[in-house]
């Protein structure tokens, strides 16, 4: 029913990350209004309490702003969104490095490989 969730972290956290992903991908743009808590809850198949928590968390992280009686909007603060992009990059790289080390590759080896791949793609 609705979205698929990973088993190893709270569902609200996965939804927060999903929405952050939408913002970074520009699926959700600055100043855009988010669906109401209930509509979003229905579309992903979670209960309204969980969705409420997601919206509160996004607001606490400075990613959305709640305007009284109007709902939640993606922040217009470009710096915050830029920060988010950097945070996401850092997270990606962290988990990448962990995987690389777990398999016994060196970071250097992977950097060279990535560079070569990057040149091929260009």
């Amino acid at each position: 029913m609705g979205m698929e969730f990973l088993p190893d972290k709270p569902i609200y956290q996965q939804l927060v990350e999903h929405i952050i992903g939408d913002i970074i991908r520009d699926t959700l743009v600055t100043g855009e209004k988010l669906p109401s808590v209930r509509d979003y809850a229905i579309s992903v198949g979670v209960n309204a309490n969980t969705m409420q928590r997601v919206y509160k968390e996004l607001e606490n992280l400075g990613i959305t702003e709640t305007r009284r009686g109007q709902g939640s909007f993606v922040t217009e603060n470009q710096m915050r969104i830029q920060e988010l992009r950097e945070e996401m990059k850092e997270q990606l790289v962290q988990s990448f490095i962990q995987n690389v080390e777990a398999l016994g590759f060196t970071t250097n080896e992977m950097v060279h490989y990535l560079q070569r791949r990057g040149e091929q793609d260009d």
Binding site: F5, P10, I11, Y12, I42, G45, A48, N49
Partner: protein
């Protein structure tokens, strides 16, 4: 708030519930899981005032639960709808005559949302549509508590999805509490705030879903299996 304090229930010599104490806070969606015969239906019926504890107390908002106290509780049994000769509209009218909190407008809105025709005769409906009608009639009541016995069981995925969407759409956790028993824990988990696990008439565990995932890094299904090992 609903509370059970040291509740046991015997059917002749068989013990269906055995010293159960628990609290259901308001405004939560709570799953009730356990093997067949673990006491789920007995517990739901007791909270609905249909069964009286043999020993211990069942309390709703500071009152001992009786059939009358339970008038703020909407109970949905896992059995099929009676009154097959009714149309959906007639069923709603019957509910309206029986329950003070029945909200005809809301029930019709739910029926519309689930694409159920009010003029359809219940005996002519498919099993899935009877499931939809049942949830519409139940959620049509503006009750503080919904007690749903296996609302998803035996229904195909489309119907289960509709019922889940109906539950989210037409209940308000600002003041309403849902307790639902289920075997489909994997599928139902995203709808839940808390989980109660019954085993042989006793509460084996009662936890928040977020806590399970946060603390143990596993989902409710894996956690449940670990409890039984």
């Amino acid at each position: 708030m609903i509370e059970l304090q040291g509740v046991s229930k015997y059917y002749r010599s068989k013990r269906a519930l055995n010293g159960v104490s628990l609290t259901l806070p308001r405004g939560k969606v709570i799953g009730l899981v356990g093997e067949n015969g673990s006491g789920k239906t007995t517990m739901l019926k007791m909270l609905a005032g249909i069964l009286i504890p043999t020993t211990g107390f069942a309390i709703l908002d500071n009152n001992k639960i009786t059939r009358r106290v339970a008038s703020s509780v909407a109970y949905m049994p896992d059995t099929d709808l009676f009154y097959p000769y009714f149309t959906v509209k007639q069923l709603f009218e019957f509910y309206d005559s029986q329950y003070e909190d029945f909200n005809m407008k809301k029930a019709q809105e739910i029926a519309e949302y689930l694409v159920i025709s009010l003029d359809a005769k219940i005996s002519t409906l498919s099993k899935g549509n009877r499931g939809r009608v049942k949830i519409a009639a139940t959620l049509g009541r503006d009750a503080a508590y919904y007690l749903l016995d296996e609302p998803f069981s035996g229904l195909d995925p489309m119907v289960r999805e509709d019922i889940a969407r109906g539950l989210i759409r037409f209940t308000d956790t600002e003041w309403q509490t849902i307790l639902l028993s289920t075997h489909e824990i994997k599928e139902v988990e995203p709808l839940l705030d808390e989980l109660i696990v019954l085993k042989e008439g006793q509460v084996l565990a009662h936890k928040e879903i977020d806590e399970i995932r946060d603390k143990y890094g596993i989902d409710a299904t894996a956690w449940m299996i670990s409890l039984f090992r």
